[in-house]
Assembly symmetry: D2
């Protein structure tokens, strides 16, 4: 199988670091360039000592991001940049015939208006919103195969969409009244030097934030609306938890009509029975982030509550892998014709 | 002010340890006895090295629990025992004219049937259920003053009842559809030698448990029903979080009629404006367990979500203090005529 | 007992926060002012939500540090400032007849030259070095009583000096070859927005730093030399450990002549038998930071190793209490004639 | 390359879990059996949910350990058992021509007397002590190639021996006065249901233990003595640190004669320059467990202290990988003629 040359723009954050790790170990990808404005000139090993012993890391040195040069070096370019900035790179890279896999929010929405509402600035390249594919492979595998611009989903959205979309598509739950209560590890805040994320401010602390209107709501609701074929508005409460990695989401859903355990089981099996990265928990098992951190897997379990009539669905994922970089590599695998699990198991 | 002699039966768990700490430092209480079957014969300092330097700990040694002796030594007896066991001690202690403050679930419910449904055994002393007072001082202060048997509330119930009861009493929210999503530190599981609670099983892990029917639901729903004057059934999902202490509860409520921020603010101010242990957060502040651990305070904040029409209320408390031993001491203070904050600030 | 009015200059760091807590609860001190350049104008409760419910915090608001005003308001001024800056405030405050208790390194050394060697700038007020007293109450209690300028010791020095000074003074160990291996919680690095101290960089990480010449060596060696009456040079290796608070120091010492367990026990008992804040561990107990965090106590244990002939001494303290703010309050108590344990137990 | 069939006896502890993970992903090994008395009958996925999605885990179910059956199924058998028990299995497995890689202490020592001194019971198979090879590949690679019984080193010993042996062999440091101060994550204590290792007892706690005579001293000193060609006795102090995985060891050594940075650098480069799993840190870098957890790498850095004349050497490793299961797989690779890094990078 012919391997691809890949580059990462913005490789010094936590998602970037995980991307580096996955791509260094990928059997069909060759990491040819990593960029970082603040670390330009340093070797990969100087910035991330843990890669120092990797045989393929020897010649990698952070460079300033230069689209012209990168476009010549790489077939596939990953953008691990803040929203707004990512689009600036995506436009010329696409023109230069690179495949772009963007981990920012820039191309996740179909509507430039919604983007402006949630991100507080005009969309920098609205014409591309039609071309991008939302990179949730379990839902958009066929479109990903044919796309040149992948908008890789956010960590919270992945933990909500994968459990809910099958239920909405199958008409098992109502599109109204959905509540998502999410708990995230601190790496979700990025490698930012802010006092809020200091060890002593996060350790022995549990707290909600961004209540009630978090930016990720925009892509969550757009995707749920597509699945439900009606406008969906949900309640979403993120919390910060003292772990490095992992998101645990508990979802409260209202069954549409009478629902049995078997209905739900059949629905999930049909959607995800063959998916390598979705683990449907059986018996008494409930999701636990420690069983998924470091992997590209999302765990899903559910309980029907006879006392309230509600359906509780719980999911666990690694926010930096299935919630970010692993899922982006999964999209690359699909798009490039590699085995979907290459470099991810 | 005349001080009281107090004893603790079952003082070797986490709640017992906090009780010891609070009572050693209490200006009007004299800790005269601590019991523990497994630690009988050892000094307080051998079991809890951190009390070794306390001037009042010198002569304290764990003894086997003997009701007859304890009844002679102590005016007030705290029970920090498993449910079922607590009642066995409460009956003879009450007969011997001791005041009993029970931290177990044994006297929290009015109904022996509900007790059996949730605790899977017959209630050991159903006749006492009428005499006990649910020890939530902010709600039952007057009854606590006159009672000889206090059923101190559970940690999860406290974090849910204090935020919700005022809203139900004021008729601001519907008694239906209430969801409580709670995150608890590991001390909530007690000092039990079980692999599930080993450091490596809890650290870097976030997980739900006891879904969907946790035992604490029984007292939560009984108390909410009393406040709403109608039968209330709620959704409650506890999660285990890698912190030693602290509970963070996020509540999803449906307003009854049109509700403004001011309505809620006025309601809470009326109920809790003068309460020394309820902190109503203003402005952009949200609860954070690190601001309450080690204290008897519960933090409460709320947000009306114009997108969904729901009211989100969040609370934070120390599960071992306001959620257990601190609240029990608060009840003792009320009952004995001490200043309510004595030994708690 | 007449209470004193106290102020804290630089009250927004971790040591400052603990000082606020101790002084708010102190029976003989009245906290009249807290300063912070970055937080000036905000209430104490806005900066530290956990103090919001404290009855004495109501009227406290951070102000810009103004020596003239502070000198009129306060009898005792605590300086919780970076080295170099502290001296700038100490000079005029002393002139204005305030008692100054400085938590920085500015007045800990007797020699301005050694200060310059370790702190890389000229000492800002060398004339005061003769007047200051090193605020280690167990060693300098008498001098503290009479001093107006207390140089409160560093956290690492406290954890090393208290265990070693008695042994050197008694001539039980050699003044050569001393090794101190210390493990510190992350609060020791202060509330600085630096990526090195982010949660994800410290959690699941253990690392040495500042090897081999840490600044605290200067005061450690000066004090050990005074005790040994000869120049002492030690080996000191600090490590960063993922806890909020606590220092654990393991000391490797060489006995001078034949030494028995009893020799050491007698020595420590003589020095510390009556000290309220030194806990000499007996039997099989070894120090554990969790038994001292939140207290002003230092735990000390020792083992003679017959295999190597060495004496191993281990200590545990809370770096922010006995290692900083608690010890500073202890000095204030001594100096002001309050009971030494006032506000500290 | 012909793959080998491998089995793990005692696969339900932390080392066993990591062995399972490494062997499931090993390109030349086929995991055919896992045993566990307590989990017999359960699938691999029931005991370790995180392996549930692994394609090769599907048919693996824990069985009772039966040597006869295992000997027929497997070419190589890993023993992840307590000391004493491991030898009982090793004897018949070797007779049945299996290669045995033992992670316990049973075959690490050459002397049955020293074994008895440190492990408090007679060695169960002293005749095998001559046949076993100490499985430290960087030191005993040639012997490992030809051995059928590998005694894989302990976690602490690995962190001490790899840094010290080259210096002793090169005669750069004295064989006397060596001090090893080690900090270990809690997984080093195993998956035992003991209160000492509960989350709340370890979190926010740092403590020494096993002072001054830890069992691992026996193998450390035997190996150092072989390297120094003289009897070596060292000082070793282990500490428990609140991380899941990782050991950080700080070594205090005395140079033999005048030593320069270059001498040490040349020595380490000569020994480890080509070793894939030893990372010699350059410049200002110091070891950090977070850079090695999850890998088979040991980081080593050193500092000469001109003030004391001592050499400080620091190492970091993952106690469960390079300190246990990874190193065992490395030995298997060597012994079976696989690339040494197979399944480990």
């Amino acid at each position: 199988m012919k391997s691809k040359k890949v580059a990462i723009i913005g490789a010094s954050g936590y998602s970037g670091e995980v991307l580096v790790q996955l791509l260094l170990n990928h059997p069909h990808a060759e990491l040819v360039a990593v960029t970082s404005r603040q670390n330009a000139g340093q070797t990969l090993a100087q910035v991330f000592p843990k890669f120092a012993s990797h045989p393929k890391s020897k010649n990698l040195r952070f460079v300033e991001p230069n689209v012209e040069i990168l476009a010549k070096q790489a077939d596939v370019v990953f953008l691990a940049l803040p929203h707004g900035v990512a689009a600036e790179f995506a436009v010329p890279l696409l023109k230069a015939s690179c495949v772009v896999i963007d981990l920012s929010a820039d191309f996740r929405l179909k509507s430039a208006e919604v983007y402006k509402e949630f991100y507080a600035h005009d969309h920098p390249a609205p014409e591309l919103l039609k071309k991008s594919v939302y990179g949730l492979p379990e839902i958009y595998r066929d479109q990903i195969k044919k796309s040149l611009l992948i908008a890789s989903p956010g960590c919270y959205p992945t933990s909500i969409l994968l459990p809910v979309i099958p239920l909405l598509k199958a008409g098992l739950v109502k599109p109204t009244g959905i509540i998502a209560d999410s708990l995230s590890g601190v790496s979700g805040a990025g490698r930012k030097a802010e006092t809020d994320y200091l060890f002593c401010e996060c350790n022995e602390s549990v707290r909600p934030y961004g209540v009630p209107k978090h930016r990720h709501l925009s892509e969550i609701e757009e995707q749920l609306s597509l699945a439900a074929k009606t406008q969906v508005t949900i309640q979403f409460t993120p919390h910060l938890i003292p772990v490095n990695r992992g998101i645990l989401t508990t979802l409260y859903l209202e069954p549409k009509g009478k629902l049995s355990d078997e209905n739900i089981s059949v629905c999930y099996e049909k959607f995800y029975g063959d998916e390598p990265f979705v683990r449907l928990l059986e018996g008494k098992s409930l999701p636990d982030t420690k069983n998924v951190t470091g992997t590209n897997i999302i765990e899903i379990a559910w309980r029907l509550d006879p006392r309230t009539g509600r359906l509780i669905v719980m999911s666990a994922e690694d926010n930096l892998v299935k919630g970010a970089s692993g899922q982006a590599v999964q999209s690359m695998n699909i798009l490039c014709g590699f085995p979907e699990t290459a470099g991810l198991i």
